[in-house]
């Protein structure tokens, strides 16, 4: 009986109110919509990538309330009442974030495909642990895969950014 | 995946052979098998195979073709099916041999099983284990059916 009801009833929609890169968004989503598709297709922010589609590679990393999630395997409805940060929202008033500057200065990317996810994950790391050891950094970043750089430059970039971000006055 | 099972049945070869060709009886020993039908006696049969591993359920409408038949001794068959709902196919090559004299028959099954498509994502090991369980249950059921029917 429930199957017949589902077929004939209107598609269920969920009102979604959330902050995207600091600005309030109000939109309706269906339960089965994925966060990755919402951000890329409906909101046009294509910095976040679909890569492995099974939460393993980290190319789809977004920050929700400052914590990294796999947008490919997160229902869009889960960001109700939360704040979402994409790579497009990292620079402020045209000024690059120290992580972005460090990745450029230290060669932390080649093709750039993993980079948005890599930088967002690194931001979450440094927000939680402003002075990580290399072991702590590697453990946190373990879920972000890069096929180009061999990781050494990524580690250097993050450590350099951490150093720059540490003096008093840096925002957390 | 290759499977081999031998069972000793306390019944003469003629009885076992007759049992194999009694489609309803034989197929009903196979766990998860339903709606067995004869399309062409001795040549072609159909059945639906339903199997479950945890929350993963498959339903294969299956066609069984008899390739070779040697009276009271040997059968070679091929079965194939597809579950379009979950995009998976199954193929089985089956070799059945009967050996033995008097009141004891050794029934041997050699099966080559291929599972293709999404179901393979569950992992070779899990599928092999499930197929092993099914074959085990099947051969035990055949033995019980033949021996109990005294």
């Amino acid at each position: 009986m429930s199957k017949a009801m589902a077929r004939h009833s209107d598609a269920q929609t969920i009102p979604l109110s959330f902050t995207l890169n600091g600005r309030l968004q109000e939109i309706e989503v269906e339960p089965h919509e994925l966060l990755l598709d919402l951000v890329r297709e409906r909101l046009g922010l294509t910095g976040v990538k679909r890569s492995c589609d099974v939460e393993v590679c980290g190319a789809c990393t977004l920050l929700v309330d400052g914590r990294p999630v796999s947008a490919c395997t997160t229902l869009a409805l889960e960001v109700r009442g939360r704040s979402v940060l994409t790579i497009e929202g990292l620079a402020e008033d045209g000024k690059l974030h120290p992580l972005q500057e460090a990745f450029i200065a230290h060669g932390g990317f080649q093709c750039g495909f993993c980079t948005p996810g890599m930088i967002l994950a690194a931001k979450a790391l440094l927000d939680e642990n402003p002075n990580p050891t290399e072991e702590e950094l590697k453990h946190f970043m373990h879920g972000n895969i890069c096929r180009c750089t061999g990781y050494k430059k990524i580690i250097e970039s993050i450590m350099a950014a951490a150093k720059k971000m540490r003096p008093a006055g840096s925002k957390s | 995946m290759q499977f081999q099972k031998d069972i000793e049945i306390l019944a003469p070869r003629e009885k076992v052979w007759k049992f194999i060709w009694d489609v309803d009886q034989f197929i009903s020993c196979m766990p998860g098998c339903k709606e067995a039908k004869t399309v062409e006696e001795g040549k072609r049969y159909t059945a639906t195979m339903v199997e479950k591993v945890g929350p993963f359920k498959v339903e294969f409408p299956t066609t069984i073709e008899i390739l070779e038949k040697e009276e009271l001794t040997h059968i070679k068959a091929q079965a194939s099916g597809a579950d379009n709902k979950i995009g998976s196919r199954m193929k089985i090559e089956l070799d059945v041999s009967l050996k033995g004299e008097g009141d004891k028959t050794t029934l041997s099954f050699v099966a080559g099983v291929d599972i293709l498509g999404k179901l393979a994502a569950l992992g070779h090991g899990i599928i092999k284990r499930k197929a092993d369980q099914v074959l085990d249950e099947f051969t035990q059921a055949v033995k019980q059916r033949l021996e109990g029917d005294a």
Binding site: P31, V54, E55, V69, H139 | V53, I86, K118, G123, K128
Partner: protein, 284 residues
């Protein structure tokens, strides 16, 4: 893309149980979704209703009369960052810290992990060695299932279809605990947990619990291997370790697959058992 489904959002265990009973096989519990959504994306399963149980409030960590109670909806991240757990169950915290990756730990729940019963997982193995009890609720009644009885087969637990796992209870005890895992792939290939007590300045082994996971279809308690070590002098136990490893390896019902051959996994079980035993002993 996922196929369309309806979302149900019960606000109590009783309501969740009722919803599950009402929709039967067409509904599935949804918490972190880290396993469920993957299988739905693959097209291996489909549910017309997902029952979001994150509003039911089962995400607390409590210490109650010598028992640590962990809500089923605690995320791995919550568990790895809990000061309470770091104090009372540091080996459990370390295991949680190493589950999957930071994004899966952020969304995934311990309850979801246990109930999905993916063979290549960590928490179940350690919980068996810790003698944990799992509490399952249906309507307004509940029952306790020991961790070692919880896992039936690959992707199969002893939960009934309309039951909810509500919390995991771990008895506090003065013991050395170690969980070691091994693997190159995304999920672990072999996991071994040892919890033991030692007496007389570590000169003899008191009670010991061993569990092996990931190698076979479900994590298992290794009672026969334990028997070779329990109550033995430290020397004798150490001498028996290789034999215990062999027994545990075979009992693990290792399957040959991409993670390794059956023989290889059995061998690794022996290696990890030896290391975990010594690690646990050093903590006593």
């Amino acid at each position: 893309m996922l196929r369309r489904f309806r979302l149900e959002e019960p606000e109590s265990v009783k309501e969740a149980s009722e919803v599950l009973g009402r929709f039967g096989e067409s509904a599935k519990i949804y918490a972190g979704g880290t396993e469920l959504l993957l299988t739905m994306k693959e097209g291996l399963v489909h549910y017309e209703h997902l029952v979001n149980i994150k509003k039911v409030g089962l995400n607390q960590i409590k210490r109650d009369n010598g028992v640590i109670k962990i809500g089923a909806l605690c995320t791995h991240h919550q568990l790895e960052s809990s000061p309470e757990l770091q104090k009372s169950l540091p080996a459990f915290v370390q295991m949680e810290h190493n589950v999957a990756n930071v994004r899966v730990r952020q969304a995934g729940t311990i309850g979801g992990n246990l109930c999905f019963a993916e063979p290549h997982a960590d928490p179940g193995t350690l919980l068996i060695a810790l003698g944990a009890k799992l509490v399952a609720a249906k309507g307004s009644s509940q029952r306790e299932i020991t961790a070692e009885d919880f896992f039936v087969d690959a992707y199969e637990t002893s939960l009934e279809p309309d039951e909810l796992l509500t919390d995991i209870q771990v008895p506090e005890a003065n013991r050395g605990v170690a969980y070691l895992k091994f693997g190159y792939l995304e999920r672990p290939s072999v996991g071994v947990a040892v919890a033991l007590g030692a007496g007389d300045g570590k000169q003899y082994i008191g009670d010991i619990k061993i569990a092996v996971g990931c190698a076979g279809p479900a994590p298992k308690r290794m009672a026969d291997a334990e028997a070779l070590l329990r109550g033995k002098s430290r020397e004798e136990a150490t001498r028996n370790l290789p034999k215990a490893g062999e027994i545990a390896g075979r009992a693990a019902q290792a399957l040959s697959d991409l993670h390794g051959s059956q023989e290889y996994k059995e061998h690794i079980v022996g290696v990890l058992l030896k290391r975990a035993f010594h690690s646990a002993l050093s903590q006593c």
